[in-house]
Symmetry: C2
Subunit: 219 residues, 2 copies
């Protein structure tokens, strides 16, 4: 529904069209992966001629990189906003949950099964960025963003982590690694689903608690 074939092929302003393309590209990325983000596929989704995509994005790679960056940065913003409380107020009032609750919320949201498409996209991006410099730059930037934000959360929280940056890196690595296992285990309905959601969740929680020297109040 984000991109229904436009029966009335309007003539949009450049930035409108460009934005529409980025939106559609994001949908394609999350739904079908980087490999499916082709000129014709995107044009079809937009109800538009293939050449038009090329007109706005002379190089497909730029489109991929930009669409990925959009999704990744949006995710970071959303998740950290939810964890730290929507208000950006500097005052430590009711608006600011206690540090442990912030971490707990962040971990909970990160492990939400609905985030699965994003995990798949990350996996896709890591691999595809091998041969695509612009995408690689976007991926590295997004990873650094995650690292910085989480590190700040840990530092500000005053946890008993000797090296907040290293703790953040390890936590993210743990989540990434376990997400891969979850991704691999899921769609194949064969097997006992060894790394089901609950177990995966428990593992991340254990790791985080061990890393930060706290007890998250999570089940």
């Amino acid at each position: 529904m984000a991109t229904m074939t436009n029966p009335a092929r309007r003539r949009l302003k450049p930035d409108e069209r460009r934005a529409a393309m980025l939106d559609a590209a994001g949908d394609v990325l999350l739904k079908d992966g980087i490999g499916a983000l082709t000129l014709r596929h995107l044009a079809l989704q937009l109800g538009v001629a293939p050449g038009l995509v090329n007109h706005y994005f002379p190089e497909i790679e730029a489109l991929v990189a930009e669409a990925f960056a959009r999704i990744a940065e949006g995710e970071v913003a959303t998740l950290f906003a939810a964890a730290t409380g929507i208000s950006e107020t500097v005052a430590p009032d009711p608006g600011a949950p206690d540090p442990v609750a912030q971490i707990a919320r962040l971990v909970t949201d990160l492990l939400d099964p609905q985030r699965r498409p994003v995990s798949l996209l990350w996996l896709d991006a890591w691999q595809a960025s091998r041969n695509r410099p612009r995408l690689r730059a976007a991926v590295i930037a997004a990873m650094d963003l995650w690292q910085d934000r989480l590190c700040a959360l840990i530092t500000d929280g005053g946890f008993a982590a000797p090296d907040p940056a290293a703790a953040a890196t390890r936590i993210l690595a743990l989540i990434d690694g376990l997400s891969i296992q979850a991704v691999m285990d899921e769609p194949g309905v064969q097997g006992p689903d060894k790394t089901g959601h609950a177990i995966l969740r428990g593992m991340v929680i254990d790791g985080v608690e061990r890393e930060l020297g706290i007890r998250l109040g999570l089940v």
Copy 2:
């Protein structure tokens, strides 16, 4: 040139040719990734007509899956043999290195920068297996193999891990996640190389020690 008639274009027996193809396919996988394992590329490497590859592997996917399985299983066998085999350290009893040394050796080998191509292949395989059932099966089997072997090592070692299986999963996830960061950070010469080999190594060691309640004698 393209098919410079192999000076020695011998006529091999079916199983010889098949084995040669799997070997060459493995080389391609480690050197250029799954995406480079095409009929023509492989045929060129072998000095053989493209159709011949298709003759032995009617579906390319089967070739990919089999070549990957070969590499992955070979790696597991090699690394665990080195870890549990005749001790190269100062362990007094030749036949059985002490458990901590086994883990230390395994971790050391796993973090060897020379293993980088294998990390890239794994990353590639995780992503590519999304649309390739046979490769997916091989990947899952290899992951299970890693899990089982490491879990056995932990269990037999009698470490203070409440849940050996979970500990193994978390350790592998940590290594995978950190390997991804290493892979992403390396080739781009920009930046201060935040997750350089030494730092990465330290993080894995810390994580393993925390997971198993031991001190590896590693620097």
